[in-house]
Symmetry: C2
Subunit: 414 residues, 2 copies
């Protein structure tokens, strides 16, 4: 057996205990929260090594910042874990039920997934966030983080495993793969005998690798080529504020927009207003010919590829469209199905946009930046699903559960 198969077997065994662990899961989570703070010195020391290695490897300052842990950030991680403990148990919820004519009483009830794999990149706080959510949802978790954070992740995982064991659950409820080779990631993606689902958390490259290599069920997350469409009936002041917020409040996240589509009838009035606002943050505009004709020389000519990209930066593609339907067609072609918004005062346009746009979150007159588990009232999120199976949009605890039917009879045969 390979190391990963053994980890899989251990996770499976732990998951059987978790199936009926009930409130013990919360005890374990609270123990983790406490232990993270108590062991913050040890974790920071491990993190220092990662930071040093990162600097030596020439990581950018923004990556170093994502990697960095200090007392405050560790307290934040602990607080996150305690908040997950405080959420209602997603397991054991009766989703539906009825009594059949033959007297069988049937109910559909939420149950744990079993064993969940999480592959993630730089941020070490994901280690505790993801583990806490999986544990609360009654599943054992196998974590595989990026090599940049390996020392931090190892320290955090050790602290968590110790705390879980001390609270009376198997320490293998949480496991970390310490081999950060590409090989170990591929092996995890193909651990079909043990893994019930794999959730990659990271950029487009990671997601693509998972889709290409995984044999276990996967929930794709996070790639967001998001749009705002400014309809001809839009309140232009509102449109300006929504575009500015959706582009510039945090350009590096997946719910930030990358392209604005503007109806031709109001482009002449709307575009200069929007540009003036975006100029405050020096946003580069890559526009179509009609955009350039209105906004002038500062516009960089947009190429086809600009409409298909996540810039994740202070860059915005802009296109003038002839109609609402051209906007909808553009989205069908270029959107990654994450979040799109229409700014309009026209009832029929709002209804058509929400019906015909096939994305996980479709907005009318609001910023796409709200696509987030916390903002939606789902509690902490494990990621944002951009595929259609199982979960779509922000995934809270309930997305980490499966279901089963329980059928009670008194001797019924068919």
């Amino acid at each position: 057996m390979t190391t990963l198969e053994i980890m899989g077997q251990n996770a499976k065994a732990a998951s059987r205990v978790l199936m009926t662990a009930g409130a013990k899961k919360d005890d374990a989570l609270n123990a983790i929260a406490q232990a993270l703070i108590q062991n913050s010195g040890k974790i920071i020391k491990a993190n220092d090594i990662d930071i040093e290695n990162g600097r030596a490897a020439g990581l950018t300052e923004s990556l170093i910042d994502r990697l960095k842990l200090d007392q405050g950030r560790i307290e934040g991680m602990a607080k996150g874990v305690a908040e997950v403990a405080a959420q209602p148990d997603p397991v054991g919820k009766i989703l539906e039920g009825r009594t059949l004519k033959n007297g069988l009483k049937i109910e559909k009830i939420t149950v744990p997934m079993g064993v969940i794999g999480i592959i993630f990149e730089a941020r070490p706080n994901v280690t505790s966030d993801a583990a806490a959510l999986c544990l609360k949802a009654g599943s054992a978790v196998i974590l595989r983080g990026g090599k940049e954070a390996i020392n931090s992740n190892t320290a955090i995982a050790e602290v968590m495993r110790e705390a879980v064991e001390q609270s009376g659950l198997p320490r293998d409820c949480v496991q970390l793969i310490t081999d950060t080779s590409r090989q170990s990631a591929t092996e995890l993606m193909q651990l079909t005998d043990y893994l019930d689902v794999l959730i990659p958390r990271g950029g487009a490259g990671l997601i693509k690798s998972v889709v290409n290599n995984a044999k276990v069920p996967v929930i794709e997350t996070g790639v967001g080529n998001c749009h705002v469409y400014v309809d001809k009936s839009a309140d232009l002041e509102m449109a300006k504020n929504i575009v500015y917020n959706a582009k510039t409040s945090r350009p590096s996240v997946c719910n930030a927009i990358e392209t604005v589509l503007v109806h031709k009838d109001i482009a002449k009035e709307a575009l200069p207003l929007i540009k003036a606002e975006l100029d405050k943050k020096n946003v580069e505009i890559r526009g179509c010919e009609r955009t350039a004709a209105i906004l002038g020389d500062s516009v960089v000519p947009a190429c086809e590829d600009d409409y298909a990209r996540e810039f994740l930066d202070y860059i915005l593609a802009v296109k003038v469209v002839d109609s609402l339907d051209e906007a909808i067609d553009h989205l069908a072609k270029y959107s990654t199905g994450h979040s799109e918004s229409i700014v309009t005062s026209d009832y029929a346009a709002a209804e058509r946009f929400t019906s015909c746009v096939d994305s996980s979150a479709v907005y009318v007159n609001a910023s796409t930046r709200f696509t987030d588990g916390g903002e939606f009232g789902l509690g902490a999120e494990i990621g944002i699903s951009t595929q259609k199976l199982h979960a779509r949009g922000p995934m809270g605890l309930s997305s980490l559960t499966s279901s089963k039917y329980i059928i009670k009879g008194n001797g019924q045969i068919r």
Copy 2:
């Protein structure tokens, strides 16, 4: 572009029309039902070729019977399609919703999957069953049936496409891959740009091939190593009837049982009763040593593999266990997670069994044969999911939908 990529593109285009097709979907389904009957002569003629080829290829009579279409069976197919038309629309159902503190009104609503791929084996009636369910759920479907039924499937698909077009929807709502090479199946499994989900319907070999080769999201279906556990407190008359029904009413289907586990305290009394009943259908018993000691020479010694197999035949593995927990452990090791039943009169045993057994349908005092969309009151089913993602157990129309969030505001920014 390959033939399949073109089919994918056409399906995607058709799916955009289906998103908002509403009651037109029912018109198309009723047109299909009518057309199947009107064209039954043509379909039977095509089927005759498949039957002739099948005989020449040496197919067993039971396979020939599965392949065979006659007027009655075609009327059955038409009736099935009309029944799907009569079901409520699974699209547009509001699953949840609330108003957030900032005034955003958020709702989660069911939407079509988009493009669904179905790979299936011998029975040509699956062509119309599966297409009808996908169409009703607002998705375009790409069908890929077995080579044995290619002439029948082609005729049925042509009739359906014609009917769909005459009712005003794109004929590419339904497409059939006529290339039945292994290559075309593999290509379908990897059509990531166009397929939102792939559902294989068939035996363990097909499922395994899909798990190994698919890059698109898959719902695994149908492999059932199902069990009845006869607890020490069981009503033995009930146990006998349930075992007999679950094993012999239709041994070739996935919800039939393959193994009976019997508590040691009642084995001496229960096993002879059960065996006497099974003898009526000449069921072969493959038993553990304790079983053989009680039932004598007619018992074939069971090997490890017998507990892991789907016999799909008049063969039953039997094992005497020391306790309920040994039964639960046996299931954790050998069950495929389809359906299991406990026969008991003990409240605590029933609760422990339903809590700890991790299968899609867990029964108390009833036959596993009820695991079926129709029996569960879900209407026609597309298959029985034995995995944990998206859908588990019998999948009705709602399992063929995804969801999206619609968020309505009046200028909210974050």
